[in-house]
Amino acid sequence: MQFTIQVNGAPRHVDIDGETPLLWVLRDTLDLKGTKFGCGAAQCGACTVHMDGDPIRSCQTPIASVGNAAITTIEAIGETKVGRNVQAAWVDLDVPQCGYCQAGQIMSATALLVRVPAPTDQDINDAMSGNVCRCATYTRIRAAIKQAAAAGRT
């Protein structure tokens, strides 16, 4: 089936089975490999992208359900001020170890900070607990979110 979806501000045309999860359209059809596969069951958050600004698990989102919604991926999140601040804090605090989960972490953190510019620890727990970091860089992820929040106030 033919679909036109809005990805990172541009229309993208794909001819694909409508059940195909958005994750695999992004990765293998559109060659946007920053979004990661970790569990295929919405358990780990590695595949998190934004749909109209909300963090969603792209491994559980069939292409046919995307419609006209604006999809934003890690490759373009730096074009927003909040996304840029989050990425800068991640670099400054040297958050990643293996780095595999970090795209999903950054997408969830950016969505949190857009919604709650000065999150509490509880806000961070609630927003980030769907994203697994197997290397357990949680101490730095929490610190980086707070640093990005502070940068957003200046």
Partner: protein, 732 residues
Amino acid sequence: MLARRNFLRASLAIGGGLLLTASIPGISRAAILGKAGPDVVVLNAYVRIAPDGRVTITAKNPEVGQGVKIMLPMLIAEELDVAWADVQIEQADLDSRYPRQVAGGSTATPTNWLPLRQVGAAGRQMLIAAAAAEWNVPAAECETTPGQVVHKPSGRSLSYGTLATKAAAFPVPDVNGLKLKDPKDFRIIGKPTRNIEVQRIVTGQPMFGIDVSVPGMLYAVFQKCDVHGGRLVRSNVATIRNLPGVRAAFEVKGGTDLHGLLDGVAVVADSWWLANRARQQLDITWDEGNIAGQSSADFAATAARMAKGAPESILREDGDVKAAFGKAAHVIEAAYHYPFLSHIDLEPQNCTARYAEGKIEIWAPTQNPAPGAKLVSATLGIPESAITVHMVRAGGGFGRRLSNDYMVEAAWISKVVGAPVKLLWTREDDMRHDFYRPAGFHFFKGGVDGDGRLLAFSDHFVTFSQDGDVASSADMGTAEFPARLVENLQFGTSMIPLRAPTGPMRAPRSNGLGFAFQSFLDELAHTAGKDRVEFALNLLGKPRLLPDPPGPRAGPGFDTGRMRGVIELVADKSGWGKQKLPNGTGMGLAYYFSHLGYFAEVVKATVSSAGAITIDNVWVVGDIGSQIINPLNAENQAQGAALDGIGAALGQAVLIDAGKVVQGNFDTVLPLRMRQAPPVEVHFLVTDHPPTGLGEPALPPALPALANAIFAATGKRIRSLPFKDHDLSTTA
């Protein structure tokens, strides 16, 4: 044979400049431990200096998140004396000129600390020689500042870039004559240094194995028997070939080595999702073989039965435990258990392979590429010289990627279809076809005397065998703590035959033994009526080196003084014994020596009346020698290792039923999540010992420190993992 000692060769680099090819005596495990190593000469590193002064340093080891891709080049850059900002790092392929291209055992620091600094120092000396010749002055009058040779008396200077081509013509210095920097002059080593790839990571650039793309590439899945080593009898593979997008589907007859190519059905399609969807239609008849007794419930029953009898073999016997138990003021017994675990690397196993005309090119997220190439060579029947292995950044390793089963599967499938193929496992494939951290059962008995001293200690360790030998990573050394410190001690062992494959997982053996031994020692301290720190320091006694028993695992021994040091510091940093804690809150201590590192950790935890565990704080103190090479990464690794242990303790177990692993995804094997993750404070005690590794040794104390904190908080002793299976509630 003298020529073999000449450890560096220099040549002109392509495009000009100095290419420093370093062959240095391989540092064997024996050499790390202070003994003479064999006089073998092996290539160790490349340094390339371009005419514009840019320095390219090759990172020889696989990067799995441990930070070695920066750490090893830091050692070379320091002694070469270049600005870190001028250094570019290239990941090496698998290359027989490099020694030990392995990510495992926390060995990269101890094995490379001296040789890679020598590589840099040799290059620096050649650049000085070239400058001295240019100026016609004695080399002794020259020194370096980053990227420059300076003639002190005249104030003249020349850049490395200018000198590089000339330097390549100078003789390579003898390793023994090299002068290394005084650590107080380090400009790179010891400075917080960022991951060079962090910018690419946070912007989602392709860099992992799963991201590899090759022109004309197809996508593959591979269905094996969920009973490990089961044989394929028949399948409906012919009908799979007609499904949408499927390019090929075929049966594979593999061997019996669980690390190699096994029986299964491969499905190859235009996209991974189509390949995996077609796979759902597979109907396969397997010959599962004998699965009698192969379940976690059977293992527990067998272990309990074995515990009633004498151990099958005695590992160690000191003094007379039986008589000593008779004399002890208090004797306690306890049974401990830890389960099988899956490594759960977040990036599922995958590999891309391109077979063409008798040659194969492989892109693999592997911790251990050399055995992978051997396996591919033997299985496909092609020489190793026809195999290229690119080491791709891995989304976690934790020991899982020391085995290369996914590599040989991708290679085989590519050869059969005659096209480049990316094989990707699902999470369920990954969890059900792992090399599991072996479960273990410990039946302890301990006796303390009237003064609260540990008088006697015994352990009947029920572990697992595979094909008659102890299963991989399921053994226990005879020097396991508190051996060597208790006059009357016995370690015995019995084995249960196991079909599921086991293997090393971050801090192998120690990750389970630490929980069992350090929890039981906490019980003994409680029985003795002693403060835990006091009990530990009494047990360790005065600072001294306890030599290891002879054997293949013999190391440098156990330094009681270094262990005392980290215990005392963690007590200080955590405010041990200085706070009145509220009801339901407790602090636990544990300490453990592994991978040459001494670690003591304190966990503060609160248990609600409903039984919910909140971990309030974790303090980690480590002694890994005289130098923390990259403090920024060291803190991250230590925090991650402690939380890795806590995550496993809280929510992870892999159960086996009828020979198959029951769990398949993160809904049943629970990784640690943000809401559970406490702040982790890390301190390093710097001591006058050679620097050692950090990927692993911070993990083992975390689990028992948490168990001991829960006991302190609730009076409930958890003797089996994971904690999620225990009811800690105090309400009716």
